[in-house]
Symmetry: C2
Subunit: 598 residues, 2 copies
Amino acid sequence: MNQYIAPIRDMQFVMQELAGLDQVLALPGYEEADRDLVDAILEEAGKFAGEVLAPLNRVGDTEGCRWEAGQVTTAPGFKEAYRQFVESGWNGVACEPEFGGQGLPRLLSSAVREMWKASNMAFSLCPMLTQGAIEALALNGSSELKARFLEKMVSGEWTGTMNLTEPNAGSDLAAVRTRAEPQVDGSYRIFGQKIFITYGEHDMTDNIVHLVLARLPDAPAGVKGISLFVVPKLLVNADGSLGERNDAWCASIEHKMGIHGSPTAVMIFGENGGATGYLVGEANRGLEYMFVMMNEARFGVGLEGLAIGERAYQQALAYARERVQGKDMTSRSPESVAIIRHPDVRRMLMLMKAKIEAMRALAYVVASSLDHAHQASATDERNKHQAFADLLIPVVKGWLTETANELASIGVQVHGGMGFIEETGASQHFRDARIINIYEGTTGIQALDLIGRKTARDGGAAAKALVAEMLALDGQLAEQADADFTVIRQALVEGAAEMDDCVDYIVENFSANAAEVAAGSVPYLMLVGIVAGGWQMARAALAARRRLDEGSGDASFYRAKIATARFYAEHVMTQVAGLSRTVREGGKSVLMLDDEQF
Amino acid sequence: MNQYIAPIRDMQFVMQELAGLDQVLALPGYEEADRDLVDAILEEAGKFAGEVLAPLNRVGDTEGCRWEAGQVTTAPGFKEAYRQFVESGWNGVACEPEFGGQGLPRLLSSAVREMWKASNMAFSLCPMLTQGAIEALALNGSSELKARFLEKMVSGEWTGTMNLTEPNAGSDLAAVRTRAEPQVDGSYRIFGQKIFITYGEHDMTDNIVHLVLARLPDAPAGVKGISLFVVPKLLVNADGSLGERNDAWCASIEHKMGIHGSPTAVMIFGENGGATGYLVGEANRGLEYMFVMMNEARFGVGLEGLAIGERAYQQALAYARERVQGKDMTSRSPESVAIIRHPDVRRMLMLMKAKIEAMRALAYVVASSLDHAHQASATDERNKHQAFADLLIPVVKGWLTETANELASIGVQVHGGMGFIEETGASQHFRDARIINIYEGTTGIQALDLIGRKTARDGGAAAKALVAEMLALDGQLAEQADADFTVIRQALVEGAAEMDDCVDYIVENFSANAAEVAAGSVPYLMLVGIVAGGWQMARAALAARRRLDEGSGDASFYRAKIATARFYAEHVMTQVAGLSRTVREGGKSVLMLDDEQF
């Protein structure tokens, strides 16, 4: 019941038909990869996820992590699974070859990461945070720092963390108070407290490399006075061997609603004289360095939404096929049937399936754009793709994680009363999902980024380009005259028009009336997610139609694609017009009450 | 932070201005109650809820219940709180005076029950289930059974349970297998297993009176062969004293995602020779008796939705006023502000506030109708109100409980990362809420009832009467020419028209194509909930306008009512058109795939 089978068939369809796998593989730097390699990696990763990680998911939930005297013990099996993960070379899949990474395209590594996240989200956070730390160091660290730390982080011998949040500095990093005092040897002493540090302490590796935001003594106030430091748990000698224990300690771990397998640490730096740290890049540019990474980190959390949705769907589907209850409405048979036969259960499963497919397509298309943005030879190609990805990353983060919460809840609902019983396992996905639309920037923060930096700042150019790209599909859709495509086409055209209206509204009103526009920012983010998802569903339906017309491949799979795209149009795209009205008309009423009137 | 203050001001507004308190108090049977008594009861109940029950809510969550050798120990403080609850006479508030109840109007008892549920949902389930058992016995039991059990159940000296579900008989009670063997003394021996029995075993009272569905040896198959039995934990002697331990045992309690304070028992009847049971009413009519009660039980669970929403709102609001983070978008001040100043946080709080007010108004209006349906002198008055309540009870159950899940999730979101930390308390409401749209009939079951028995069966008469009643408000709304009322009016008129279209679609298609119509049943239920809620918000705005025009009362409160109604129109009613399309056009695509294509 609580198995995970990597959805390789759908991943391949999306990569090949929607995300331009062949074009990605033709990019400079990816010459060594081909379709066979891609398929082999998906196969192997799927095995590892299904056989090694998935069985530990519930163990992580029930056993959690234990803190004792500053040490954290992870759940039984996690340490051994991590060892296998590293030995199999999975840690460096997306990293640069320079430090031992495999430098595979993001399109492929996204599919692989989806598998880690779906099979065992709590486990997957460890390599995810390590990868973030690797990127920050690789982009901005001195060659000495890189030489000392990167290779072992890429291999996974050491893990990495990101220390941003403090008790009074969550979404607002301007309030960071941790301080760094320069030493004569060029290093720094770090003093302060950080909270919500994922895998801030654990027993899976000898060393942990903390990246820490802190202020220098003479730093300006606010976000322009924050610097980034490397603070290893154990100091590293010049020869690369491990040295003294640094003054960086895990004071406790949090008691959370979900992701129990992932330790969330309170870190204390410098309680015994100061933690030794090394400045990354230039002083006072820490937040800027973080922001460069943040795009990819946010994209990664978006993938968690897709992954949890997929896992919840697999579990609900297995239960719906197995659980016998009630009669079939469409027959007169007195026999009880599996609940998958009941129309409302089918509606719930279709909603899960359709949204998962839309999420996967949108996420992989953005991953593909990130590959082009990084690797394409032509500057204007790179810029075009970067603008597309920049626009859609807050949507991938916000819409996918919000949707995952909805789907995990539907997964519980399909189980009926059993869904509320912990042993069933459906509730774990529901509880685990509840953090992903909060961390790495809440949905509200993503939505502010979307309306401000991503929509208003360029006068709506990137958003309008997306609308135009959606509408460019109209001709192909119009060539298909059947009922399914008529519905799909109408929904896309209407949806794109509504998005266009919203973009106009935002561009026209943001500078004069930012608060009113911001009051509609989350509905706008949800609208863009739904419409962009619908665009991908329409593309998927067209691709499936082409394969059916050619008579190639699995006809049943392609017919399901078309039916699912139609379902999405009728059950998801129908929300767009209402969201659009809320965005354009609903700002004023959000702000009408005084604080005391609540 | 984790306090509960009963929202008496809003309760009074709804009771007086929307639910016709004065007319209810004028009904035969309620002569002894007046507005002063109502206010005094609300005041006292609010105190009890806030001072006694609310502080135990988190204790129940963290300590849960312990099972040992068939005995269940409730969380520290629950037993004493129950003793106080009973001693203060709260258990019999809504029960008939014949057996010691206070026989207060449902309108009032609903407000009181909202307080129990909001302050401590896990605790409140015990008196709720007892009340269900009381009603089943009072309606159908012999005078001997009533004499033996009812008085002590009404006082709360004994509690009651409902034993319906079995491992293979959840939503489908036709599959009940528990059997009853007639004995020569007129009693029965009961054999079988029941699951999900709320407060099936506990330490708060000496005796527990189980009502159990079981089959007689010669019973017809299916739902027409189920009878209802009283099976006390301890047998009761003729003089009312407690006798032998009955053969009804709690085999275990469930490990649940939420409502940890409420023991959910697996009950085994007859493992040692048979549990003694007494037939309630006639043989084979058990399900029919259950259905009579079920309306009020479902209404009661709907109130849980309102209550959890209110509690989550109070907690989120307190946090949003207190948590300082980020700058005010509308000023240039460098000072950080409380997050309630941020537009998206305000939007979330408004969404909670608006939906809670709509839910409360709808629930209390239905409670008032139940009072009229039971107590009005004129038959046609009773029938009219019964039809109205019958139509709306699946909506109160389904829409309020689904909405509560949304609001509890928003409550977590307002807390940001702290919402995911168990100590904060926001997550408890989120976890507790996840059962209420499942038990007492899932939302899918409510929606089937709504489209079938409540909409299609009478050719849409009751639903159309509701639409007409909504549209009858149009004249009054049109008299108010300002922007707020223009928005409110348009949303209501459009919403009622969409509901009307859906009713036509259901009536026209249900008999020929039940599965397709059923595929849109949950969207229809949500649509009716939203529109009926919007109707109440419009009524509230008109009532507030009247008071403002009179210059009476708290102007700030009334102005907030109008602003909140406008917000509801712009942020909630905007979903109606999309839901309507899904209902009317989306049935086919739900059913397009073969089982293997999922």
